[in-house]
């Protein structure tokens, strides 16, 4: 239960933040959306992601698998964000 609570709230917030930041970068640098709209679009999507992830954390059968998935996707997103930030600066 503690593992799920940790996954559902603090880890979820970290992962959602990473995804939001990466999406904002992707929309702006990758797809050419203007930066303000890219940031806001990612921000709006973040609440959907957070709430669904919170439910998933309690819904899936294996807490171990859940954590492996979260750490894995966090690493991919983190690497993507880092690459994007080093390749081009912020406004």
């Amino acid at each position: 239960m503690a593992a799920r609570l940790l996954a559902a709230i603090p880890a979820n917030y970290l992962l959602t933040s990473l995804a939001t930041a990466t999406l904002a970068r992707l929309l702006w640098r990758g797809l050419g959306v203007d930066p303000a709209n890219a940031s806001v679009a990612a921000m709006l999507a973040s609440f959907v992601m957070f709430s669904v992830l919170a439910l998933v954390a309690f819904g899936v059968r294996s807490a171990l698998k859940l954590w492996l998935w979260m750490i894995g996707s966090g690493a991919v997103l983190g690497a993507g964000l880092w690459l994007s930030l080093t390749s081009g600066g912020r406004l």
Binding site: A21, N37, A41, L44, S51, A54, L55, F58
Partner: protein, 520 residues
């Protein structure tokens, strides 16, 4: 697998709902009231009658500000609209100090005279409490409220998964069946207004999104101020030139701005460097004129009236955000829709309240010793009393204090607000010391009595009682009295139900023993 998913979602729903349910109840109740914040303010300032013309009010406000704050850095003017009759002004003093509240703001009538009689925060306080709470730093309050909203969103989603027969239960409301009735009440209020609940919770998060999820902006902007500038067009104010030049008449500029927006009215005015050659006037479209919350703007040179190019942010995501905030605040809504907002909000309040009560009703049957419940159970029960009848009593007392406190009391708005919290605290304490069952009856009856007292006290202390309102066709005051009476009836009815239920329960063991005696 399907059933275990439902079970885990049910568990999640129960505990996430309970943990922040009390705060959510207060947010729903005050947020619902806030849909009528302008009307509540008008009720709380019964000396102010009639309606005000926006153009004349703008000229009046400029006259007032020229007298009171001629060398201010900026003026902010909120104009009256169809719902309010007063102008709110706020200014940033020229010496750069941040004045205390009340010293740098005023409420004006159409002619630009400050309204000093019966000062009140009115409906605005209920609106601010909805997300800023009170007696605590605003920043903390907003984070707390955001966490509660996120719990709400997940509680709604898990509630949908938990609910097996969501459409059959749409029409199911069984009265007088104990736990079943509470569950039905929770389901019906949740399901009927489900689209509203989902919308209001999500858009509520969006209103303060950049606080809760700043990382989307941080990823593209090194400093949030650059983002602000791009979106809101907030230019840093120019230095005062020192060459005094009076502000041009605002009325023709307002007409020009309005014409540029297809006839939509001006709602807000800000003036930077008033009285100086560098003065700049910014008009923002009235929030009542369209759904989108981020209104169109128009800028003019204050000294010459020259049209300056106004900045407008555009784009799909920004427009979506703006409409979402507009949907949440409902400022665009006309009467029919406004009442629907209000009723949906009441539905949400009942949904949260019945969910909280359901938690205890469900567990009472399973207690090892129902006469002496464990600490957690008692805590929830007491907090429910403090939250539900407590807040209701507090709001009724807030209205009563508006009528009963001396009209010229110092810091009157704060005293009104204190009355609300004192009454709330008193009911909470009462709920702690009394036996729970009896406390429910008493506090519900008290809340009902306080709401019932509002129209009576209003009739006794003002010339705008129910009878007078009927003869004058004063619909705002008629509706206010009727809502108070309806709330009083609901709370008194609930108190009666609880008392009945307790009497039945007290009689039940007796009956059983007497039956046993007969069979022997």
């Amino acid at each position: 697998m399907k059933d275990s998913l439902r079970q885990s979602m049910a568990l999640f729903h129960t505990w996430s709902g309970l943990l922040l349910g009390w705060l959510l109840f207060a947010m729903f109740a005050t947020g619902t009231a806030a849909y009528f914040q302008d009307e509540i303010t008008r009720w709380m300032q019964p000396e102010v009658t009639g309606s005000a013309d926006p153009e004349a009010s703008a000229q009046g406000a400029v006259r007032y500000l020229n007298k009171v704050a001629p060398d201010a850095i900026s003026w902010y003017i909120t104009l009256p609209n169809g719902r309010s009759a007063t102008t709110q002004v706020y200014w940033q003093p020229g010496d750069g100090t941040r004045g205390k509240r009340g010293e740098t703001s005023a409420v004006l009538d159409q002619a630009g005279r400050a309204i000093t009689v019966r000062e009140t925060s009115g409906g605005f306080f209920l609106y601010r409490f909805h997300f800023d709470l009170h007696y605590m730093p605003v920043l903390w309050a907003r984070y707390l409220v955001g966490i509660a909203a996120m719990f709400m969103l997940t509680a709604i989603l898990s509630g949908i998964v938990t609910h097996k027969k969501i459409f059959a239960d749409f029409f199911m409301l069984r009265f007088g069946k104990g736990q079943r009735s509470w569950l039905d009440a929770h389901n019906v209020t949740a399901v009927i207004a489900l689209p509203f609940h989902l919308m209001i919770t999500f858009t509520g998060l969006v209103t303060l999104a950049s606080m809760y999820m700043p990382w989307g902006i941080a990823a593209n902007y090194a400093s949030p101020s650059v983002f602000q500038e791009q979106v809101f067009g907030r230019e840093p104010a120019a230095e005062r030139s020192g060459r005094a030049q009076p502000l041009v008449d605002l009325a023709p500029l307002m007409r020009a701005a309005s014409a540029g927006w297809g006839g939509k009215q001006v709602g807000y005015i800000s003036v930077t460097n008033p009285g100086d050659a560098t003065a700049r006037v910014l008009f923002t479209r009235s929030p009542g004129a369209a759904i989108a919350a981020r209104g169109e703007t128009a800028a003019f040179a204050g000294a010459t009236g020259k049209d300056l190019a106004a900045h407008t942010a555009s784009g799909a995501a920004l427009a979506t955000e703006s409409v979402m905030i507009g949907l949440h605040t409902g400022r665009f809504a006309q009467w029919g829709l406004r009442w629907l907002y209000f009723l949906s909000g009441i539905g949400g309040t009942v949904m949260v309240g019945s969910g909280l009560v359901l938690w205890t009703v469900k567990r009472r049957a399973r207690l090892p010793d129902p006469a002496r419940p464990h600490f957690g159970f008692r805590l929830v029960e007491r907090l429910n009393i403090a939250a539900i009848p407590g807040l209701a009593t507090g709001i009724a007392v807030y209205f009563l204090a508006n009528r009963l406190l001396p009209a010229d009391l110092a810091q009157r708005p704060d005293r009104e607000i204190d009355s609300l919290f004192l009454a709330w605290l008193a009911v909470g304490l009462w709920g702690m010391v009394r036996p729970a069952g009896r406390a429910w009856t008493e506090t519900l009856a008290l809340a009902g009595a306080c709401f019932a007292a509002v129209p009576v006290v209003n009739a006794l202390t003002t010339s705008r009682g129910f009878a007078a309102s009927i003869t004058n066709g004063d619909w705002l005051f008629i509706a206010f009295d009727l809502v108070m009476i309806a709330l009083a009836a609901c709370f008194l009815h609930a108190a009666g139900k609880v008392a009945q239920h307790r009497a039945k329960k007290a009689a039940a063991p007796l009956r059983r023993t007497s039956r046993k005696a007969v069979s022997q």
